[in-house]
């Protein structure tokens, strides 16, 4: 069985709480028997120039050190327009597995045709996925799941991961996943009942485990994994959600590191 946390954050010391080295991040994974993490810079890692260049580069280095465990999504501030598109292209060509957007922190609607779409066109061309922070109550106007539905509709070949499954708007997130086959629901902060509802509505293939680590604290990955395990779904569904799905969708090629898991 492969376990992959599809939504985490990682940055160097001073820019985020620990872990702050690839070795320490892998140690966290080992402790919880997580094979790999998809990770992206947190908002706290933004630089004075309002880009995430340093933070993305830090993750690029981490990926080089642990290519089978650490899978980065480059975080892009879309307000830099053409330069943001250039950055996205550069990071995707460096080996990032996709792009992370945080519409609330970057103050941009998830489906902004001028600021967001040109970046996703690069993902469409170069490959990878996009991950959106979503959710009421904190992101209304910028990141409700319906806006991600518009993105999924506009880029049908790009996997669109709806972070936190829309939080309190999880029903909306499940609906857009029902309507668009390239919508992926990430489970962090949702209850076992909500995870089961997602599976009942769209099937298990496009629901993926995520923790938002370290935002949920050092124990977030364990608690969020426990929610998947407590959901009233089959054992096979749980395996798919905990790792097989994201491994397949993003073509990560992660192998199991732990016997008997």
């Amino acid at each position: 069985m492969v376990v992959i946390d599809a939504h985490t954050h990682f940055a160097k010391k001073g820019k985020a709480p620990p872990p702050n080295t690839p070795e320490d991040l892998v140690a966290v994974m080992d402790k919880l028997k997580i094979d790999a993490m998809i990770t992206t810079p947190p908002y706290s890692s933004i630089s004075m120039d309002r880009t995430y260049d340093d933070a993305n580069t830090f993750i690029a280095e981490a990926m080089k050190k642990s290519p089978d465990r650490i899978f980065g999504l480059a975080r892009i501030n879309p307000h830099f327009r053409e330069k943001a598109v250039e950055r996205a292209e550069r990071f995707l060509k460096m080996g990032f597995w996709g792009i992370k957007f945080h519409p609330r922190n970057e103050a941009v609607a998830a489906n902004d045709k001028v600021l967001i779409f040109p970046i996703i066109e690069k993902v469409e061309k170069l490959g990878g996925c996009v991950l959106f922070h979503t959710g009421q109550p904190d992101t209304f106007g910028f990141a409700q799941p319906t806006l991600c539905g518009d993105v999924a509709d506009s880029f049908p070949t790009v996997p669109v991961i709806v972070g936190h499954m829309g939080k309190d708007l999880f029903d909306d997130a499940i609906l857009i996943a029902k309507w668009f086959d390239n919508v992926i629901l990430e489970t962090s902060f949702r209850s076992p009942h909500d995870i089961a509802k997602a599976v009942r509505t769209i099937g298990p293939e496009r629901v993926v485990y995520g923790s938002d680590f370290y935002m949920g604290g050092p124990f977030g990955p364990e608690i969020e994994m426990m929610k998947v395990k407590l959901a009233n779904i089959s054992a096979r569904d749980k395996e798919m959600i905990l790792g097989d799905n994201i491994n397949r969708i993003v073509k990560m090629g992660v192998k199991s590191h732990f016997e008997g898991v």
Binding site: D168, F189, S191, P192, H193, G216, G217, P218, F219, G220, E222, I223, M226, K227, L230
Partner: protein, 236 residues
């Protein structure tokens, strides 16, 4: 460590049911000694649903504590029932859900219930947070108006703000706040006003108990939250 759950449901909804037997079974499985039980939605009249909880408390008097669910829209009828529930049937508090029953938490009909609670010296547990009817800050306003009534609600950022300024507010853990939230929140808060809750079967005691285990609180402080506080508040 004694574990007392400040909120669980007994009864039947459109989608699920929880019998007294099933509740006790789940309590046993999770090492929960006692639990507050109240009827689940939809209502609107909870007279029969409260009787189900009453029967549960009769069957398991050492395990299940009843909180009478009040729909204040029913006026005098429900106020009399609520009074009898405490005086004659052994209910230990009231449960109000302004979202489900559609009333503002600061409206007159809530004040009527609070008057009864004040006279009977029982706590009132408010559902909060998911609608304009019951923001935690509104529950804080009610607590300010009735400083002698213990006002309970689930922990949240708004609930914490209300609780810091209102010493009669008690916060229940969950739903599913992580250990970090628990630790950061309770660093600056009087832990004698925090009680463990699972909201089962909507919530999961396994999850909430694990979060408590992972919390960095000392064992003494955990013991307060897990049961000692509610024991004191309800006079158990």
């Amino acid at each position: 460590m004694v574990v007392i759950d400040a909120l669980a449901f007994v009864g039947e909804t459109l989608y699920w049911k929880m019998s007294a037997e099933e509740l006790v079974k789940r309590m046993d499985k999770n090492g929960i000694e006692m639990a507050v039980a109240t009827p689940p939605p939809p209502g609107p009249d909870y007279t029969e649903a409260n009787k189900v909880v009453y029967e549960a408390t009769r069957k398991y008097p050492k395990r299940i504590i009843g909180f009478y669910r009040v729909n204040p829209h029913y006026g005098e009828k429900v106020l009399k029932e609520a009074e009898a529930a405490v005086k004659e049937w052994g209910f230990k508090g009231f449960k109000l859900d302004p979202t489900n029953e559609a009333y503002g938490v600061t409206s007159q009909i809530v004040e009527n219930v609070m008057e009864v609670a004040r006279a009977l010296k029982v706590p009132v547990f408010f559902h909060t947070g998911d609608s304009q009817f019951c923001p935690p800050e509104g529950v804080g306003d009610v607590a300010r108006m009735y400083p002698k009534v213990t006002v309970m609600m689930h922990a949240s950022a708004g609930g914490l703000r209300a609780a810091v300024s209102q010493p009669n507010v008690v916060l229940a853990t969950g739903p599913m706040g992580g250990p970090r939230m628990l630790d950061s929140m309770y660093d600056s808060f009087d832990l004698r006003r925090v009680v463990f809750s699972s909201r089962m079967p909507i919530g999961f005691p396994e999850l909430e108990l694990r979060i408590m285990q992972l919390s960095l609180l000392s064992e003494d402080r955990k013991s307060l939250v897990m049961g000692e506080n509610l024991k004191r508040i309800l006079g158990l």
